[in-house]
């Protein structure tokens, strides 16, 4: 056929790169919104320990609800618009961030906090200068999960009036019997996700120069052979390509 690899049917009223842009917008805006919402919620959970278990229950339940179900229920309120897709994605991100941030902030040793207090750092400074930086790896791990999941889930938005970014190609691919379009969608989405992940890993490396890079340090010979510890990424265990 004539035309380029990235040609897409005119009924989508967009270019490939336009779709990519739409996809990123639909995926990333909710993630950022989720993060901003999650920070205060998490801090409340850290300060009031009793709050955390119920919050965790709620987030687990929200996370379990399949994306499509979530999207369609919102149609009645927000129509078949971008918002319908972004709200559930935002909630999923929030749900990933809260445990990640709470665990990350809690992982700061009490001795470190005490030292900071003794040096005269007030609660706000302690939060921004001590807790958040040390929690950064866990937060970035949560960011990775949320971002990658979000990018993957946007495709489902196609069913809600073509609000699916690259997912919009899937329908056309099916009805016009053009596997090329489907490949474009799948590979495009996957590449976006991988690039986002790699970018965030780079961010983590730059933001936390105090963490070991993963090279095994020589240990005192008297100690028994150590097992390598898993990354501080409890949040990474929550998976949701849905």
């Amino acid at each position: 056929m004539s035309g380029g690899l990235f040609d897409i049917p005119s009924d989508l009223q967009n270019t490939y790169w336009g779709l990519v842009g739409m996809h990123l917008r639909l995926a990333l805006v909710p993630v950022v919104a989720g993060l901003l919402l999650a920070l205060p919620i998490s801090q409340l959970c850290v300060l009031m320990r009793w709050l955390y278990p119920p919050v965790l229950w709620i987030t687990t339940i929200l996370y379990a609800i399949p994306s499509l179900a979530f999207f369609v229920v919102l149609i009645d309120y927000t129509g078949q618009s971008e918002l319908t897709v972004m709200i559930p994605l935002g909630i999923y991100s929030l749900v990933v961030f809260v445990p990640a941030i709470v665990d990350g902030v809690r992982s700061v040793p009490q001795e470190t906090l005490d030292a900071a207090t003794a040096m005269g750092l007030g609660p706000v400074r302690r939060y921004f200068q001590v807790q958040l930086p040390i929690a950064a790896p866990a937060i970035i791990a949560g960011l990775r999960v949320a971002t990658v999941s979000s990018i993957s889930l946007v495709s489902v938005g196609m069913l809600i009036g073509n609000q699916g970014g690259l997912g919009n190609l899937l329908n056309d691919g099916m009805i016009y019997h053009q596997p090329r379009l489907v490949w474009l969608s799948v590979i495009g989405t996957a590449v976006l996700a991988i690039l986002a992940d790699a970018f965030l890993v780079l961010v983590r490396v730059l933001v936390t120069p105090w963490m070991p890079r993963g090279n095994r340090k020589p240990r005192p010979v008297d100690e028994p052979e150590p097992e390598p510890r898993p990354e501080p990424a409890a949040a990474a265990l929550e998976d949701a390509v849905r």
Binding site: T60, A69, D76, L153, S155, G167, V182, V186, P230, V241
Partner: protein
């Protein structure tokens, strides 16, 4: 409250409770597909996760699997399989299983890795053979986390199976997909409710399993 109205209408319509498009049938289909996919994914993910977790080797591959698993778009994969392999159950099951393996594998790996090395060292020093150490010392302690990985996978399968209705799979997703095309929002919302309920039942099921299989000595930390 339109949504509530739709839900009520959907569930009170008698026709919805019978026949090949009836709620019991669809529910059964959905559960069936999900269980099969979960079983296969667990059969792949658990042994590999346990082995790599115990020996500690293959950590990099596991990390790669984790990222790849999340990066692959579920919906895209479903359509891709359909377009390449046509109609049928297998083309749909493949993505369901493939997407469920990473949560199980990665979580099991990390669960076993994060077990306190002291009891493992003590067990080895006492003369326990390696397989016994894995199953009698590491597994019981890693169990809560492993179950959470299985639970994540189950939720994901239920969710992806819903979307799979788009490529002609049966199950509860049928209500949503058909309803969207027919502009029958009763159906759409009814379907969404059912799927959500199934997801919550799945959560409850795993909670029960954990209650009964995790030792009280381990439970108190979770």
């Amino acid at each position: 409250m339109n949504v509530v109205h739709f839900v009520n209408a959907f569930f009170s319509d008698n026709a919805h409770w019978h026949g090949y498009d009836g709620i019991p049938t669809r529910m059964r289909e959905h559960i069936q597909y999900s269980l099969i996919a979960l079983a296969i994914a667990a059969a792949i993910g658990l042994p590999v996760g346990l082995l790599t977790g115990h020996t500690g080797r293959g950590g990099n591959s596991v990390a790669f699997v984790a990222t790849a698993g999340r990066a692959l778009p579920s919906f895209g994969l479903l359509v891709l399989m359909f377009v390449l392999l046509g109609l049928g159950q297998t083309p749909v099951m493949i993505p369901l299983v493939v997407l469920a393996v990473p949560p199980i594998l990665v979580t099991t790996y990390e669960a076993v890795r994060s077990v306190d090395p002291s009891p493992v060292d003590a067990a080895r020093g006492m003369g326990m053979a390696e397989p016994r150490i894995l199953f009698q010392v590491e597994l019981p302690v890693a169990l809560p986390l492993i179950l959470s990985g299985l639970r994540s996978a189950a939720i994901q399968i239920v969710s992806t199976a819903t979307i799979a209705a788009y490529v002609s799979l049966g199950g509860l997703g049928r209500y949503i997909v058909d309803g969207l095309y027919q502009r029958n929002y009763e159906k759409v919302v009814g379907g969404a409710t059912l799927v959500a309920v199934l997801a919550l039942v799945t959560l409850g099921f795993f909670w029960l399993v954990a209650r009964f299989t995790v030792s009280p000595g381990v439970r108190r930390s979770n």
